[in-house]
Symmetry: C2
Subunit: 402 residues, 2 copies
């Protein structure tokens, strides 16, 4: 009963359609109607292969196969989706993990196998994202403010079932890249070294609201002009630093006051998301942001403020797992490259309690969180192959080394 790629594709076809709306994308918010449906289908399939299933108090699904006394190799991801998202983000990793459990349940000797579906990874129904993995690993002490929804879902379990109380030895997460790099460079597999530093600032320029007509251009204190100049400077800076994948910066939210067509804006605030694998790059970027912001503010006679909204320090993945994934790629003859995960994943919290690694497969055109999100079947299968080989490898290491 080896890993069966056709069977996986069938499962993926059926499960990833749950909540799919043609022309809109996936409607499968955490613990909403469609998330509950896909969870039930997953549980049915897990039960059919003899998995033991439990829930923790974050409604994470934790399924196990094998001797409970042996350490666990866990595979996980999430079945929830942003509204209008694609079919692959999260679901791919869970469904591939299901196939690994089925295919390798008799072969893996030194570990039990575990599959985890984390609740609300996307943060699209509840803020923050990574809520399920954060709760089960002890990042959040309690604070389950969405308890009613959990109870209503039927997946609310017990606190003692949190993974932190019986951590898997290894945690693997197979995921689409969600970026264009692998495809553009012709790689089949990406091996993330970890998850980058993420620091999100709020920047504010305060000008003076005056009437658009009667105020000459030269006498304006225009907050929006300050923002425009700032965005260009920051983008040019990040563009250069990112030429060797060192820094990315994004303005995603903009609020303008008073927001009237014929009034020069008195205030504009916006988010600046800064990411880098290197902490000193982030710090240098923030210093640059402050220097440039102040200089522009002085030049245009406006005020400048900045504050941290939040930050996540870098998470480095486990070297043994990275080596094992690399070995699997070599054995399978797949073109791979090392890279960083520039987005957060449940793996970052699992790294608090387990040895963690991730496997990326190419995203066509780098699209994600959209109905255009797509990964080819051959890439899905390559990822599954690497995942299965990695599980075999880690289990074998245990045999050799344990």
């Amino acid at each position: 009963m080896p890993v069966d790629f056709g069977h996986f594709l069938d499962d993926f076809e059926v499960l990833s359609r749950v909540g799919w709306v043609e022309g809109f994308g996936t409607d499968r918010l955490a613990l909403g109607e469609n998330d509950i449906r896909i969870r039930r289908e997953l549980i049915a399939k897990l039960s059919a292969i003899g998995a033991r299933i439990k829930f923790d108090d974050a409604s994470n699904i934790i399924a196990e196969i094998g001797d409970p006394s042996k350490p666990a190799i866990a595979i996980g991801s999430h079945l929830d989706s942003v509204l209008g998202g694609g079919k692959f983000d999260g679901a791919y990793g869970v469904i591939a993990g299901l196939e690994v459990l089925r295919g390798l349940r008799d072969e893996v000797k030194n570990h039990r196998l575990m599959l985890i579906d984390f609740t609300n990874e996307e943060g699209a129904r509840w803020i923050p994202s990574l809520l399920g993995s954060g709760l089960t690993t002890g990042v959040y002490k309690d604070g389950i403010t969405f308890g009613d929804a959990l109870r209503a879902s039927g997946f609310m379990g017990e606190e003692p079932n949190r993974l932190m109380h019986d951590p898997p030895r290894y945690y693997l997460e197979l995921h689409i890249e969600q970026g264009p790099v692998l495809e553009r460079e012709g790689y089949q597999i990406g091996i993330p070294l970890g998850i980058v530093n993420i620091r999100v600032l709020e920047i504010k320029f305060a000008g003076e609201a005056n009437q658009a007509g009667p105020t000459p251009m030269a006498l304006r204190r225009d907050a929006v002009l300050a923002m425009a100049r700032f965005i260009e400077f920051i983008r040019d800076y990040a563009l250069i630093r990112d030429s060797n994948e060192r820094l990315r910066a994004t303005v995603g939210i903009i609020n303008v006051k008073p927001g009237i067509y014929n009034v020069i804006p008195s205030e504009v605030s916006f988010t600046l998301d800064i990411r880098s694998p290197y902490e000193d790059e982030v710090n240098k970027a923030v210093t640059y942001v402050i220097d440039v912001g102040r200089a522009i503010a002085e030049d245009l006679g406006v005020g400048f403020e900045h504050r941290d909204l939040f930050m996540h320090g870098k998470v480095e993945f486990d070297r043994e797992i990275i080596r094992t994934i690399e070995d699997a790629c070599k054995d399978l003859g797949l073109r791979y490259r090392f890279m960083w995960s520039w987005a957060g994943h449940d793996a970052q919290y699992m790294a608090r309690i387990s040895r963690v690694g991730m496997i990326f497969v190419p995203s066509v055109n780098g699209r994600s969180h959209t109905k255009e999100e797509f990964t080819k079947n051959e890439d899905l299968i390559n990822g599954l192959k690497v995942l299965a080989e990695t599980v075999r490898g880690l289990d074998g290491h245990e045999g050799r080394e344990g």
Copy 2:
């Protein structure tokens, strides 16, 4: 019973406080509670000097003194305010007009005098602005969708009372400049030549929503970056053209989609308000906007769209009135300059049915539509003097020329 400046200042002090909230500014939306209060106080003062008062079907207050068979010299403005506005915008012109009616009612021989308070000039309660003057001059045929509020206010009158059916010969509007030019250049009076061309566009850049982390800087199609570059180009262009008061351009409203901190924006739309006394300047600016927008869009691989939201053609004021205002300034020894009104006023619609002129007084720091709006008493009085002298002059012309 001449024009009494102390009496005017007393009236202004009392009336302009209606709806004033310390620390917030003026709360006097059209036909709201405080607008109704100030209207009643105005009517009481008008009644006390023997004015005949009527309302038209836009709830404009139309007060008259003198022989109904003679042509009218009308003075008007508005008592409504934006939320959190100042004490001077609109109210100054109405209260000064009240004093002119009282002071000159026996002196003016060849005309009757008229005072008008236009409803919803600001457009802060109902869109569009200049609603009352638009209805009474026939710009809008009917379409009074706020009829319930009119009826509830007690100021709803008859359609035959619209000014278009019995237009004043002259319409004068005394107003604060709402810009910084007079103060900075040391003038006491501004004489507008008319109201500039106003053309408001909506600009849209369409990029591609991708995740902020996994998408390298060089591979982005970032709508916000396109906007930033565009705003800088347009500002530089307008700054040069406006060095001799030819062109102003303002981005006042910005909408970003999807508006998530960690997603590269797929779309940004924003308003671009373009103003100039010269139609060809507006047309050249729009051509430049389109050229620059397309070039940026091509450079960044995003889409570019533009559409007109609305436009108002230039209104030129009456030469006889302008000359009469100038003569008044000379007689009074006041430093004056000709200029354009870069903002809309009820005068622009009154120009459809009457000979129209305006008088501007300095705004401290050019502030307006804010609680910081301020004009010194001596400037308020200078404006009132010029208004009264202009009424005398126009009435005298009639005597000479009529």
